[in-house]
């Protein structure tokens, strides 16, 4: 009997819940010990454009879901990943990681998703408030998602880094477009497969692969992106993004300030960074027995 030939995987990008190839048709090759291991899409600005469109379309219904619903969907991502652990471990090893470290990374990633899955219906209990204004008004502040967030994921810790960039952003109702690690992109696509299996609506998460310095300006300058969460080692590129983002006053979060490998990353404060505070006033009728002296 002849040896069974493996079916090789094609790595495409993830936009609007589907897996298209980059519209530019370009690719770059991932090598290990000089041997090719995968042909990865070299995405273009048009892919960014399409991804942002999809993220914008998905925003209204994703942010209108109940927090409980979003919690459950995030938990499901963790359930799906747990079931597919081996695929991730193989890929991480394929990309050059030590297998023991790979197992730790995937476990950490799953646990981190579960951690954040518990926040959607609690954020406003912590950071929202009822404000005791001096006039007879019911006055309350709630935090709301911002809209479309552009993400640049870290180069190392490709899986944990990508998850840590995406999950805190979408849990509050934002949608995102993420540029995956350039040197270790394989897990990004597997993650996309998990996400598309997990009841996450199309367009909430969009992932592209390619050259970071080619793609990031398109995100940073896009007028319909509301915020950026970036983890960039090269100071020049990072500063450039901050500069470009100011064209429509995007809120930019420098995620590299937070230690991704550390459990201190798990906190609601990073979630808060991608939310806006809205305060509402409504009169409270008072009987003539009370007074408000101005």
């Amino acid at each position: 009997m002849s040896k069974r030939i493996k079916v090789l995987k094609t790595y495409k990008i993830f936009i609007d819940g589907k897996f298209p190839r980059t519209e530019s048709g370009r690719y770059y090759q991932l090598k290990k010990d000089k041997a090719p291991i995968a042909n990865v899409c070299l995405s273009s600005r048009k892919d960014i454009r399409n991804a942002v469109l999809s993220a914008r379309n998905a925003f209204e219904s994703w942010s209108n879901k109940s927090a409980y619903n979003r919690s459950q969907i995030l938990y499901r991502i963790a359930e799906m990943m747990e079931g597919n652990k081996n695929q991730f471990i193989e890929e991480l090893v394929h990309q050059g990681e030590d297998s023991k470290k790979a197992i730790l990374e995937i476990d950490h990633s799953i646990d981190r998703i579960i951690y954040f899955a518990g926040w959607p219906d609690k954020i406003n209990s912590i950071f929202g408030s009822v404000n005791p204004v001096a006039s007879s008004h019911f006055n309350f502040t709630i935090l709301e998602p911002m809209g479309v967030v552009g993400i640049v994921a870290p180069e190392e810790n490709s899986l944990l880094g990508l998850i840590s960039s995406i999950i805190p952003v979408i849990l509050s109702g934002n949608t995102c477009v993420a540029i995956a690690s350039e040197t270790q992109p394989l897990c990004a696509i597997s993650l996309a497969e998990i996400i598309s299996n997990s009841d996450v609506p199309n367009g909430v998460v969009n992932i592209v692969t390619g050259r970071k310095d080619e793609l990031s300006p398109h995100l940073a300058q896009h007028m319909d992106v509301n915020a950026l969460g970036i983890h960039i080692g090269k100071k020049e590129l990072k500063n450039q993004m901050f500069f470009q983002a100011s064209n429509n006053l995007k809120r930019v979060v420098d995620v590299s300030k937070y230690k991704i490998e550390d459990s201190s990353f798990e906190s609601p404060y990073i979630v808060k960074k991608f939310m806006e505070a809205k305060t509402t006033w409504h009169p409270i009728e008072k009987d003539f027995s009370s007074t408000n002296n101005y």
């Binding site: 409980y68 938990y75 609690k122 912590i126 009987d287």
Partner: protein, 489 residues
């Protein structure tokens, strides 16, 4: 409205055919044991009591009765688990156990709903759509808090209390178990829980789920029994906190029992909520709110809107709409998917309801009851309302815990605020008005722990629930539901 206009008829032309939920895959054991230290074990004194289906008075099962030795065993197991595994594993891992419970409840939701209906008499539609989903949601919500407690209490280092004793009622059996167990586990405590005597079975199915979720033995112990079992738990010296939901009278006696000890407590007791309809309210929706407030779950709801206050100018219209809406309520076999009002939970409770109906008549109020056919066996009470009720009538003061509504009128905001607050209870209240500022004024002035404005009987794991005054103390749900289970000093 002209009295010559005939009232609309709603029945007799096109009536529902039976649509009974199938019992095919459901099996209730002949006998249930106590769940202690991760195993089902027989009660040491080998005593059992019967579980009756209130729909047909047939026996469903025999349930173990825990006496003092069993209670000791349970508390000791809980203590050992607290000192051992439960405190040693990380909060993150604790969360995962609780998430498992939530997910398994969701997987088994149909079975749980059917058993809940068989055991307690509530309509299958209610158990299926409200009780079971909310139970799962509570576990899911609190699972998420386990590793986040530091954020809930600024400047504090929250620590669990130890072993908590929990006693729950028969009106929302599985849901009440979830309301108690979920926050207790999330905060790191271990549990000894006693379900109500007349509705033990879903708590025991929950015990099976807890076993399936592989919780370390002793973390949750479920011991069935009657009032004496409850007393044993309350008085046990190694229990750090008592959480009780039930009648105000029993609540008072528990507080007496634990006075002078270091035991913490939360009490969620009775109520006599005012449901207030202003003339500018959306009247048809308000009527739905009235119905929802007092007739669903057979009125066995502590926060039931049992005192209706209608602004006098719209009294006739509201009453007419209320009576019309009542005609579409279906009372009967709770396993029928169309049933709105099921069986009264027990013989005793039905006797109590009848007693109050008699008192109401004696006190001179006018009665209206839905004219419907009631099954010949089982415990049933049709939706009932009393008009011409005044503030001093017993039926306006005392909790009936049945589908009986006492209706009064009012003229001004100040008047109704006074009347609504004029009660030793303070669990909940309802306000119906189109004016936001009026709703907020009432919300500010009404002395109740839960105010529903333009809605009624809404529950959510994130929303704190609990009463003022003799309706109890402490809150369940939300961030507020965590502190009763923690040491924050």
């Amino acid at each position: 409205m002209s009295s010559k206009i005939k009232a609309l008829k709603y029945n007799g032309k096109w009536d529902f055919s039976p649509s009974i939920e199938s019992l095919e895959n459901i099996s209730i054991q002949k006998e249930y044991q106590l769940f202690i230290n991760g195993k089902f074990q027989k009660p040491l004194a080998k005593k059992y009591f019967l579980s009756i289906n209130p729909t047909n008075e047939q026996q469903l099962s025999r349930i173990a009765k825990a006496d003092s030795k069993d209670v000791d065993l349970a508390v000791n197991s809980a203590r050992a688990a607290f000192n051992g595994q439960w405190s040693k594993i990380s909060a993150k891992e604790r969360a995962k156990y609780i998430y498992r419970i939530a997910r398994i409840i969701q997987e088994k939701s149909k079975e749980l709903a059917i058993v809940e209906t068989l055991d307690g008499g509530k309509p299958i539609r209610e158990s299926r759509d409200i009780d079971i989903p909310l139970a799962a949601a509570h576990f899911f919500y609190y699972a998420g808090w386990a590793d986040k407690l530091n954020y809930a209490f600024p400047n504090r280092n929250p620590k669990p209390l130890g072993v908590v004793g929990q006693i729950i009622p028969w009106n929302f059996p599985l849901m009440m178990a979830a309301w108690k167990i979920a926050p207790a586990l999330a905060t790191g405590n271990t549990v000894v829980l006693k379900p109500a005597e007349s509705t033990s079975i879903t708590a025991l199915l929950l015990a099976e789920i807890i076993k399936e979720a592989e919780l370390p033995p002793g973390v949750v112990n479920i011991i069935t029994g009657d009032g004496s079992t409850g007393n044993l738990i309350v008085n046990h010296p190694d229990v750090n906190k008592i959480a009780f939901t039930g009648s105000t009278d029993v609540g008072k006696s528990i507080m007496k029992s634990i006075s002078g000890t270091n035991k913490r407590s939360t009490m969620e007791l009775g109520g006599k909520a005012a449901n207030i309809i202003f003339q500018d309210a959306p009247l048809d929706q308000a009527v739905e709110g009235i119905i929802n407030g007092i007739y669903f779950n057979q009125g066995h709801v502590c926060c039931a809107g049992s005192r209706l206050f209608i602004q006098e100018s719209v009294y006739d219209v509201v009453l007419r709409k209320l009576k019309d809406r009542m005609q579409s309520l279906v009372i009967g076999n709770p396993l029928d998917k169309n049933t709105d009002i099921g069986a009264v939970n027990s013989k005793q409770q039905l006797a109590t309801i009848h007693k109050y109906i008699d008192i109401g008549l004696k006190e001179g109020a006018d009665i209206y009851q839905l004219n419907c056919e009631l099954p010949t066996s089982g415990y049933w009470c049709p939706p009932t309302l009393f008009t011409n009720v005044s503030q001093s009538h017993s039926i306006a003061k005392e909790e009936i815990f049945g589908p009986v509504l006492a209706i009064q009128t009012f003229r001004t905001t100040q008047e109704v605020i006074n009347k609504a607050n004029n009660t030793p209870y303070g669990l909940s209240a309802g306000v119906w008005t189109d004016k936001g500022s009026k709703a907020f004024n009432l919300a500010a002035k009404l002395k109740a722990g839960v105010i529903w404005a333009n809605t009624y009987n809404k529950f959510d794991p994130t929303s704190p629930f609990g009463g003022y005054k003799e309706s109890g103390h402490g809150r369940e749900g939300g961030v507020h539901g965590l502190s009763p289970y923690l040491n924050l000093e």
